[in-house]
């Protein structure tokens, strides 16, 4: 592991935060011609789902374990999918859920590649998608870093990183 990748509290690790933010921005501009701006990150003591649908990946990068969640309110994901697929959605259907899974896969893959080039050891993972309300139970979750991401139409979605 390089000096840059020395283990610190992952929630304060700039490499990690930048990799996920860049992965999201790169994916959305390439696949959906959608520009994003990133808001001020904040920490929450426990995970709360912020949207109507979310993609989730278990992150394993020994000794770190955590969860990456991308939470989309309806307005944000509908806007992205309009640009990406040319289709209009009005409800969080199974097609929308599938697209959230694929987007999460690309966000994670892009970040993983950048981070592993810096000496991290992130492993491959297959994302899952959740709709409705859920929580990450206390014995699995620590604090959550929340990074708000804003689209051009002013709707927002959230990158949420919980580590143990």
């Amino acid at each position: 592991m390089s000096a840059a990748a020395k283990v610190q509290n992952p929630l304060f690790d700039k490499n990690l935060i930048n990799a996920f933010v860049d992965g999201v921005a790169k994916t959305l501009i390439t696949m959906a011609q959608t520009k994003v701006s990133v808001g001020r990150p904040f920490i929450e003591n426990s995970f709360k789902l912020k949207g109507d649908v979310a993609g989730m990946v278990g992150m394993v990068a020994p000794p770190m374990r955590g969860t990456l969640v991308i939470s989309f309110p309806k307005e944000a994901i509908f806007s992205i999918l309009k640009n990406m697929l040319g289709e209009t959605y009005t409800e969080v259907s199974s097609e929308v859920a599938d697209a959230v899974g694929e987007l999460t896969n690309m966000f994670y893959g892009s970040a993983k590649t950048s981070l592993n080039q810096l000496g991290y050891k992130f492993e491959m993972a297959i994302p899952s998608v959740v709709r409705g309300e859920f929580t990450i139970s206390k014995n699995q979750g620590g604090a959550t870093l929340v990074i708000p991401v804003e689209l051009e139409n002013k709707s927002q979605f959230y990158i949420e990183i919980t580590v143990t």
Partner: protein
């Protein structure tokens, strides 16, 4: 470039990505496209198409899938003389050196890294066609 009637097999566990690839292929004039959601369902389609004498002319497969991964399907194809020269492109969300080397060693025709746009996919298809059309024909 590959003839317009080339039969494609697109394999990805996410229907969204299959839709994006199919849309790009359609824009390039390729409409003879079948789909599978992982390697385990893709392999019998490859076998059945060959048995019917309507073989696939190109496989585009995701790497990271449940059941059978894209790299394992590629290895299965290359281990069978019938599919040793079948153009096979892997799609991956990761572009790490060790992965690229593993794919090259397994005999991949080319790979495309997600996220990608239609121009990138077209460029990759052209690159594979250049290789295929220059390869000596089997006796």
């Amino acid at each position: 470039m590959f003839p317009a009637n080339t039969k494609f097999l697109v394999i990805d566990d996410f229907a969204t990505m299959r839709k994006i690839i199919k849309k790009t292929l359609s824009e390039l004039g390729y409409t003879n496209v079948e789909e599978a959601d992982d390697g385990a369902t893709g392999w019998p389609l490859i076998e059945a198409a060959t048995a019917k004498n309507e073989p696939f002319g190109f496989v585009i497969s995701d790497w990271n899938m449940p059941k059978m991964q894209g790299i394992d399907l590629l290895k299965k194809c290359r281990a069978d003389a019938k599919y040793r020269a079948l153009p096979f492109m892997l799609v991956t969300a990761e572009s790490e050196q060790k992965q690229i080397l593993e794919a090259a060693k397994a005999g991949v025709s080319d790979y495309v890294v997600k996220p990608f746009n239609s121009a990138t996919l077209k460029q990759k298809l052209e690159k594979v066609w250049a290789k295929v059309s220059q390869a000596p024909k089997a006796a």
